[in-house]
Amino acid sequence: MKQREKLVEIRNLKQYFNAGKPSMVKAIDDISFDIYKGETLGLVGESGCGKSTTGRTIIRLYDATDGEVFFNGEDVHGTKSKAQLKDFNRKMQMIFQDPYASLNPRLKIADIIAEGIDIHGLAKNKEDRMQQVQNLLETVGLNREHANRYPHEFSGGQRQRIGIARALAVQPEFIIADEPISALDVSIQAQVVNLLKKLQIEHGLTYLFIAHDLSMVKYISDRIGVMYFGKLVELASSEELYKNPIHPYTQSLLSAIPAPDPYSERIRKRKVYNPNIHEYDEGEDLQMREVKPDHFVYCSEKEFKQYQTIHTK
């Protein structure tokens, strides 16, 4: 392993909605993980497992119920002056799932992309602003002439490129991509994924890639975290996670993906996850434990020993 520098640290993050009421939802229930500089961390799980909430809480779209997020060693959720917040907002950007809903239909592309540039005063004058917008459009594979058009004139894949250009406009270090390709056609998905990879190398970006399409996640991510009901249940490098899933939920999730291969489909056996198999005692100490080097599983002390004997030989 190369020497790795932590860019984002998430410590005991909790996000409860309707806290204190009977309808309380523990959307994120005490999760901790690190994101290293220059890597792509994939976050997968079923709808309602809290993966999008995690992304949105990290970037402060929601205020966390409890826990800390450190960005470059600085606490994101601590009280801050407006100037500090602004600076932080510049370094962390988001790409949204729905390219139709996330672009203001009444703004021209140039103004959508330049909104961040204006807020942060990154352009010297009007010409410079336009120049930056046009460069960004070319970076994401669109034409400079597109700057004067409106969102409805673009296809889904092109809009997602505009969303990416907007995120890049303020030269961020860290981008949270919340299901950026789920709404796109198969042939367009590959284009956008390739673009994200290219930009990562060119600009030294770090990604948190949230998705439920597991084959794409594996392709783009260096490491993958699996979430289940607000908990992070397993975290490992993407190769390792697919080859040796340890947590029974991860095993069931992986066994449910249909492969584009009729032969293997005929013999695939699906595993069903039953949360009761753990048989945890009341108050048992459950936490992320390192079963193999860099392979963490959410388990009890007893399970930890079992996993270790089975999986490390």
Binding site: E46, S47, S155, G156, G157, Q158, D185, V186, S187, I188, Q189, A190, Q191, V193, N194, K197, H212, L214, S215, M216, K218, Y219, E239, Y242, S252, L253, A256, I257, P258, A259, P260, D261, P262, Y263, S264, E265, R268, R270, Y273
Partner: protein
Amino acid sequence: MENILEVKDLTISFHTFSGEVQAIRGVDFELKKGETLAIVGESSSGKSVTTKSIMRLLPPGNSEIKRGEILFNGKDLAKLSDKSMQKIRGKEISMIFQDPMTSLNPTMKIGKQIMEPIIKHQNMSKAEAKERAMDLLRLVGIPNAEERFGQYPHQFSGGMRQRVVIAIALACNPKVLIADEPTTALDVTIQAQILELMKDLQKKIDTSIIFITHDLGVVANVADRVAVMYGGKIVEIGTVDEIFYNPKHPYTWGLISSMPSLDSKDDELYAIPGTPPNLLHPPIGDAFAPRNEYAMQIDLEEQPPMFKVSETHYAATWLLHPDAPKVEPPLAVKKRMDQFQTWQEVK
């Protein structure tokens, strides 16, 4: 096997303010008894319009079936009166829609929604229909059928709602079931359950299924045969093995190579360049030519006919013409072909 449904030279246009959109441009296929035919293609390829026209669900105002026949039991559905179509729709041919959140009536109890087609098509009394609806709920794997019967759609999860939609579609033991992206809105684990359920039910009641999807993993799982659509046409059709292990059309090659395979991590994913054609002004030649790196001059001038590859496998590409130069398919496709060869030899 006998054909239950035959679509011949179907051509459909939409009249819009900006002109005539030629959504379907001469589609031919047949559906055999008891089989699952998957139709794949991206948005605007015409896969949903094709199936909606079979159900006669296209908007009457601006859509027009310009040519072609949809033969079901010898009757041409394209020319049937609305009244006689009502006797077929939901009884002989029924449909499962993509979004279980919007295809159920939110103000009506689930039980009543399932009873509706039974009472309408099978002349049952209310009590009998209720009995049948309860059986259907159990058949599609909804626990506590008694209690669930009187609940509203919002009390069901996405996967459970899709089961209800399937129950409604199966209420009259249809001969043909059209499933339009039935699992796209669902999670992988729920998707797996629904696919297993559909395959299981197909065996029990011997229905033919047309399955529309853009997920090739799902296709590999459910399909007996596959039709690949592009720009309002079927560009390749064959058995599932032929399409996955011996594809002939460059668009199919592109689709297959643009998926990351689970065992190899290549440097760059193959992406089909460009965007789908605008069917307001469809190209003169092969609609895929502008995005096709194997395109030849003739592709820009003339549409390719369907070339026969085997008894069951046809593809519309000039590359199959005897005079065409021999080209190598992309690496990902070639790997599949080789792998298939070795499997065949082992067998």
